[in-house]
């Protein structure tokens, strides 16, 4: 059960934060189809940051001393680097869709094509292979929080909750959850959030009340880019052993599905990402999953193919789209370039 919850969280957290990234862009009126591309770019820059810092000798001493607080700081720095990279990359989308009033779906598709190409081009030059890894060690030994890092004995039993939440976990998981809450509050209860959402619903009205629609949309896409970039790195850190290979296995598109399934609302998105994370986890660990610890591999005995669990999130999203398209809470003005002269 502990394993199930931890693995589900590991898959759910990047989905959740990237889906929120999608919400920020769409609420401000820009469809961010480039989530996948921005994740790939963020993952690459985060891993590159880790790789270069290690090569430069930073944090090597901290690692040798077992100074885990410094190492967690290192992880946060890498997350920030990825967020910054994602934000800069997303400026390409903002510039095209806000200033040049380009087609947002095509612009997003362009970014999705560009990210893996750029990333693989540089990875091949840097590493002479198609995967960029950490310079030394792996993500578990550098960044994972274990009982022993927290000062507990190796054999100590921390109880169910302790075992689940404090042993073999990444700080990034909790940072993302906290960020998710803070940013949801920002978007739904503050003046800034209200203004941003108004730009996605009725930009003409917002403009007439003195809100700068262009600035708000830039802000929305930039926050979106930062979150997606960070989400990409968190994905690489927690599920891909801190490596980058120009691919995030369609997580960006799955996050888009989470956003739609969650009907653009934070609480629903959190639940949806947990559900989709659970499916991902079951599909990945299917045959070794012992849910209640009695030595019976229930899922294997049910005999449903792991392909079913991989398929389900997309099928469910399509079905949900079918049922909710009438009462959808999708922002009304999303995808429409704002033209001041139509006010």
């Amino acid at each position: 059960m502990t394993f199930l919850i931890q693995q589900t969280l590991i898959y759910a957290v990047p989905l959740m934060i990237v889906a929120l990234a999608g919400v920020f862009a769409e609420r401000s009126g820009i469809i961010n189809l480039a989530l996948e591309g921005i994740m790939i770019f963020g993952a690459f820059m985060g891993v590159l940051f880790v790789n270069l810092s290690q090569n430069a000798g930073w944090f090597i001493q901290a690692k040798a001393d077992g100074n885990w607080v410094a190492l967690q700081g290192f992880e946060i720095l890498a997350m920030l680097a990825a967020a910054l990279a994602g934000m800069v990359f997303s400026l390409l989308l903002s510039f095209a869709s806000i200033n040049l009033r380009a087609d947002q779906t095509i612009g997003g598709t362009a970014l999705n094509l560009m990210a893996p190409a750029l990333v693989l081009f540089f990875i091949r030059l840097i590493a002479n292979q198609n995967t960029l890894q950490m310079a030394t060690g792996d993500s578990a030994s550098w960044f994972m929080i274990k009982k022993t890092t927290l000062g507990f004995d190796k054999d100590a039993d921390l109880g169910f909750i302790g075992n689940t939440l404090l042993h073999k976990v990444y700080l990034s998981t909790y940072i993302c959850i906290i960020l998710f809450v803070i940013l949801s509050v920002l978007l739904y209860t503050t003046r800034f959030g209200l203004r941003m959402r108004s730009c996605g619903e009725n930009p003409q009205a917002a403009d007439s009340l003195g809100i700068n629609v262009y600035k708000m949309r830039y802000a929305g896409v930039s926050i979106s880019g930062a979150l997606a970039g960070m989400g990409g790195f968190v994905y690489a850190l927690t599920t891909a052993n801190c490596t980058s290979n120009g691919d995030v296995a369609g997580f960006g598109f799955l996050a888009l599905a989470v956003m739609i399934f969650g009907n653009w609302k934070p609480l629903n998105i959190a639940l949806a990402s947990l559900l989709f994370g659970l499916f991902k986890c079951i599909a990945a660990a299917y045959s070794s999953l012992d849910i209640n610890g009695d030595g019976v591999y229930m899922l294997t005995q049910i005999g449903i193919s792991s392909h079913v669990y991989r398929l389900l999130p997309y099928v469910i999203t399509l079905v949900v789209l079918a049922f909710t398209s009438k009462g959808s809470r999708a922002p009304k003005a999303e995808g429409i370039p704002y033209d001041k002269s139509t006010r």
Binding site: L92, A102, I106, A110, F121, G250, H307, Y314, L318, S325
Partner: protein
């Protein structure tokens, strides 16, 4: 074509050429910067890289003294034609959907479903059960049908449930990726004969003889003498099928009632319905046709006999599907233009291979170039306006010189930009 239309068409082509030039330039600049920064690459290496980006198709490798040699390279050109085949088809798929007001980002999924059906049919019929040509045709048509059905799903969702086709297409893409992986996982079509090729499905040249797969007993597309024309390449008759289909799509869109109705629905669904056109039927039909075209690309590619399919594809979508989008955008959704833009994209592919083989650079730079071109196509309207603005400025200056009365010119100025916005909007 009246003068206004001709001017517009000229601007469109010019904007495409500008996109291409800019994309290549970005590629060259990246190559140059990397060459300057990277110690392993000399300035001479960077210069070689830049030349390969622009005219890599004419590269014939290196001579004994290690300098690049240039000239007509039949195997490069033949491989370009071979690689252009699926791109023409996916490009047609996206272009047809664009013409009818739909963004078919589902081409990768339709391509995968075409692959699935084609390979299943081609490899399941025992060799000798029927003539090879019949097996080939059945496999091709089966793939096309599978793609049409798969494309119809987002079409139905759009027509009857008002679901954005982009979202529906993204979902069906990933469903297809998982379905195809599943179907091949439980099949016995996985290549077991060649031990080194784990994870691949048999080429269609393998045939079922007494329950065993035997190399050379299967089917492959006829070469039609093209292999004599371009020795050492993979080219086959598929390219001719693709070109004929492109002409067919051109006729369908521009010369038939159905094509007119499809375009009318794309221009304005409600107006079309008011005019007595079945808008819902046409949306489904348009997506189904698009799906069929994308799947035909997959069928032609895998029936060639020298390509094999990596079956565990649930985490990735085929690039040939996505690359249909830049092909269509560059061709401005003109089916005949698609042939040329697909050839251009296939040429970039070859250029990438040459870069990998001959220099320290790698093939991904050409994907960057493609992405830049798509990015620019997203605001081709802005580029066209810019060109038009320049032209108008020149006209205005000429007029000011002539000091004409100018009451006509004013009227022109007011109307033209509006017309452009409308036309641009139709395509987007």
């Amino acid at each position: 074509m009246n003068p206004l239309q001709r001017k517009e068409a000229f601007r469109k082509i010019l904007s495409s050429l500008i996109s291409i030039a800019f994309g290549l330039l970005v590629g060259a600049v990246i190559v140059l910067i990397v060459g300057l920064v990277n110690d392993n690459i000399s300035l001479k290496g960077a210069w070689e890289g830049i030349r390969l980006i622009f005219i890599g198709i004419l590269s014939t490798g290196r001579n004994a003294s290690g300098t690049l040699t240039w000239g007509f390279n039949p195997s490069s050109v033949g491989n370009m034609l071979f690689r252009a085949t699926p791109l023409i088809m996916t490009g047609l798929s996206v272009a047809l959907a664009f013409k009818t007001g739909l963004f078919n980002i589902g081409a990768p999924g339709q391509y995968l479903m075409g692959t699935l059906a084609t390979l299943y049919i081609a490899l399941s019929i025992p060799s000798g059960a029927m003539p090879e040509v019949i097996i080939w045709l059945l496999a091709f048509l089966g793939g096309v049908l599978a793609g049409a059905l798969w494309g119809a799903i987002p079409g139905l969702a759009k027509a009857f449930l008002n679901i954005n086709e982009v979202l529906a297409c993204i979902m069906t893409n990933w469903i297809a990726a998982n379905l195809v992986t599943w179907a091949f996982d439980v099949s016995n079509l996985k290549n077991m004969v060649e031990g080194t090729k784990s994870g691949y499905i048999y080429k269609t040249t393998y045939g079922l003889v007494d329950g065993q797969y035997v190399s050379g007993a299967g089917v492959s597309t006829l070469k039609l003498g093209l292999d004599k024309l371009f020795p050492g390449s993979q080219v086959n008759g598929g390219i001719i099928v693709a070109i004929l289909l492109a002409i067919g799509v051109y006729i369908l869109i521009n010369k038939t009632t159905l094509g007119y109705e499809l375009k009318a629905c794309g221009a304005n669904r409600h107006a079309a319905r008011y005019a007595g056109i079945h808008d819902k039927r046409n949306i489904v039909l348009s997506m189904a046709l698009s799906g069929a075209l994308a799947a035909a690309g997959a069928s032609l590619y895998y029936l060639s006999g020298n390509t094999e399919f990596f079956w565990s594809t649930y985490q990735s979508l085929p690039a040939a599907g996505f690359n249909g989008i830049p092909v269509a955008l560059l061709a401005l959704n003109n089916p005949i233009g698609v042939i040329f833009s697909a050839l251009f994209m296939a040429m970039l592919d070859i250029v990438g291979l040459q870069l990998t083989n001959l220099t320290a650079y790698n093939e991904y730079i050409t994907d960057v170039i493609i992405a830049v071109i798509v990015y620019l196509s997203a605001f081709s309207l802005a580029i066209r306006m810019f060109i038009a603005g320049k032209a108008k400025k020149r006209e205005a200056e000429a007029e000011a010189k002539a000091e004409a009365e100018g009451d006509d010119a004013e009227g022109d100025d007011a109307v033209e930009p509006a017309a452009e916005v409308l036309k641009g909007g139709d395509e987007a």
